[in-house]
Symmetry: C2
Subunit: 113 residues, 2 copies
């Protein structure tokens, strides 16, 4: 963690952690790929992305650490997929965040003062 997580609310810290996992386009691309294909092999991910294999592996580790994906070994390959439980938790945190308050009302209040 790059920040002092004490003194922030549990939910804020969790949301920030998931946001950090999404804060790189390579990781967004990986998650979209996994979400669209249900599962896929590490090698397919490496082929899709414009970065080296070592770098992809690093991003996969970060997504695993964030809890958003998991990998099962199927020698000689590794099959990755979304970790549904945390995916759902993250989804809920983000939906709550974006839908908070008056900002998500479909009709704007008059703001032409």
């Amino acid at each position: 963690m790059a920040y002092r997580s004490t003194n922030y609310k549990e939910d804020e810290v969790q949301l920030a952690q998931f946001a950090k996992a999404l804060s790189h386009p390579a990781r967004i691309a990986i998650l979209k790929l996994l979400a669209s294909m249900d599962t896929c092999f590490c090698g397919e991910i490496v082929e899709e992305l414009p970065i080296a294999q070592a770098t992809v592996s690093q991003h996969l580790k970060e997504l695993k650490d964030a809890g958003l994906i998991q990998g099962c070994i199927e020698p000689p390959k590794i099959r990755y997929c979304i970790e549904r439980e945390n995916w759902k938790k993250a989804q809920e945190l983000f939906l709550d965040f974006w839908q908070q308050s008056y900002l998500s009302e479909s009709k704007n209040k008059s703001h032409d003062h």
Copy 2:
């Protein structure tokens, strides 16, 4: 930008940028405060957060650079508020992301293979 943004899709880069803006609990807290209060003065934000004024100011700058907030000068204070247009854009990008594919279906497909 910490990464080579070429070779990624426009939407992925944008989503990653907004995610980066949300990737620190202080910034989450600031946005929640602004969303709940419509507008508030910089000083009120500083009082709410467990970090120094200089650090808050830095986080505010990042949120401004990301387009999520804006500040209007009301001497001697500065009134901050959500930048609604980009807020909506970000909201849409995140909703699309989380709702992609089979993962957001309320009933799971059978996964007991």
